[in-house]
Amino acid sequence: MAQPSRPSRFPLGSFVVIAAVLGGGAAAFAYTAGWLSPERLSRERVLAALSPPGGPAPGHRRNHTKGLCFTGSFEANGAGAALSRAPVLAAGRYPVIGRFNLASAVLAQPDGQARVRGLSLSITGPDGSEWRTAMITAPVFPVSNVEAFYALQMAARSKEPGAMGAFAAAHPEIAAFGAWAGSAPWTGSYAEERYNALNAFLFTDAGGRDHAVRWSVRPEARPVPVPHEQLTAKPPDFLNDEIKARIAAGPVRWTMTVTEAGPGDPVADPSKAWPEERRTVEVGTLTAEAVQEEQDGPCRDINYDPTVLPPGMRPSADPFPAARSSAYALSYERRAAEAAAYPHSAPGGRP
């Protein structure tokens, strides 16, 4: 009520109360925002750890920086419906925007030197819902959790001689990845690689049952092993040149497979493979039909956030998709802010 004011005769105490309430509120906010705990592992720190010696290339992704766009389709055969009610797994042909890439934060990375290669997909289902996934050629991830991922980046960039050795001693799980990196044959083509999502997700079928799964795409092209020295002697963009020529000559295909965890299989740890004999369902065929330079291609502005999933798929106990979603969001925010540094070569160059 607009009553005449009856000012307090002892306002000092009231001012103390007001100051305490406002100060407490501001402090709680700052604490929640992490401003009072710089030692917390933030996405800013993870991106800093990924940053290459000369700093990140402005306007580009903060990891898997060098890439090439492609468009094509995913033809679901309907078998995936046994695991998930996602519309994109119902029989049909759905458009794909993809990206071939190298697992390195260096834009000028020579193709022959990247041990790990990547393939990213955005598949739009019949209802308009999207399935995004960013997969790599390694069959297991080097580490089990996000803290270890950060420690690995720090060890890799450290100038101290024993840093990687000390990391490996503290994180024995890296041995499986190391064994693959040391012994698996190299190939001369993106088309001859198998790409693995590695992270586990939960698929929900039409009956409401959950299935913990990991998926991969397996190449139709037969992998031809090439000695590594031969690849490093090739021009720095030979993988891009090769896939452009190959797709110009005809579509390139992969079979998408979904593997279900058995009881007791490690769902929350992508550094541990599941046994070979686990139920694996072929759910459809991925076809790459045309390639576009990233600068003008439709993949440039996509955030291949692995938590963009259609109904019927969701993250599992695996801690990586959440961390990746958070880190990719900051990477996207930064490269968007620097968009002027990576313009289209021609106006309207992008479909």
């Binding site: 009520m1 007001i18 509120g25 955030n303 979603s325 802010a337």
Partner: protein
């Protein structure tokens, strides 16, 4: 409009939304500071709650335009009157702008605006990296500005309640009756 207090509906909306908006601001700054699985949990609350705030804010603005507000005390100095007016306009503006910015920035990113499984909002802008960059920055900066205005508003409300004791707090108090003295 000469009623002494805001209507029960206006008061209900004020306090319900105060709780929701404060939660949203803490969820917002909390989620962008974490890489843990809490990130996804917080984001999945942030989006539907933000859209709910947009709907409630529009309802509330409609009520405010129809029903008005009780007059401020006649002895309130002119600068405080102006500050009250400006801050209330800012609060209404932010309650509506923040969710629209969130929705628009995800649209400009080409990122599906999923409120929960199966409920996806249409984009309200075409995909544009440049638009996304501006909107994302605005959502962040205005989020901090929102918190600052709320702190000032809270300080002013307590000043009316504890120091001036002029009935302004009672006009919005959740339960009727007792003056604070």
């Amino acid at each position: 409009m000469t009623a002494a207090r805001f209507s029960p509906m206006q008061r209900l909306l004020h306090w319900l939304m105060a709780a929701c908006i404060l939660a949203m601001l803490f969820i917002g700054v909390g989620m962008v500071s974490t890489l843990s699985t809490r990130y996804l949990a917080l984001v999945s609350i942030h989006k539907p709650l933000g859209i709910a705030i947009l709907l409630l804010a529009l309802l509330r603005l409609g009520l405010r335009l129809r029903r008005g507000a009780p007059p401020l005390p006649s002895d309130l100095p002119e600068p405080m009157r102006l500050a009250a007016h400006v801050s209330h306009v800012a609060l209404y503006g932010l309650m509506i702008a923040m969710p629209l910015l969130g929705w628009a920035m995800l649209s400009a990113e080409g990122y599906p605006v999923v409120l929960w499984q199966g409920l996806r909002l249409p984009p309200i802008l075409p995909q544009s990296l440049e638009a996304y960059a501006l909107l994302r920055q605005a959502h962040g900066l205005l989020g901090y500005a929102f918190f600052a205005v709320i702190l000032a508003h809270l300080g002013a409300a307590l000043f009316h309640a504890l120091v001036r004791r002029d009935g302004v707090f009672e006009a919005m108090a959740p339960v009727p009756g007792r003056a604070l003295d």
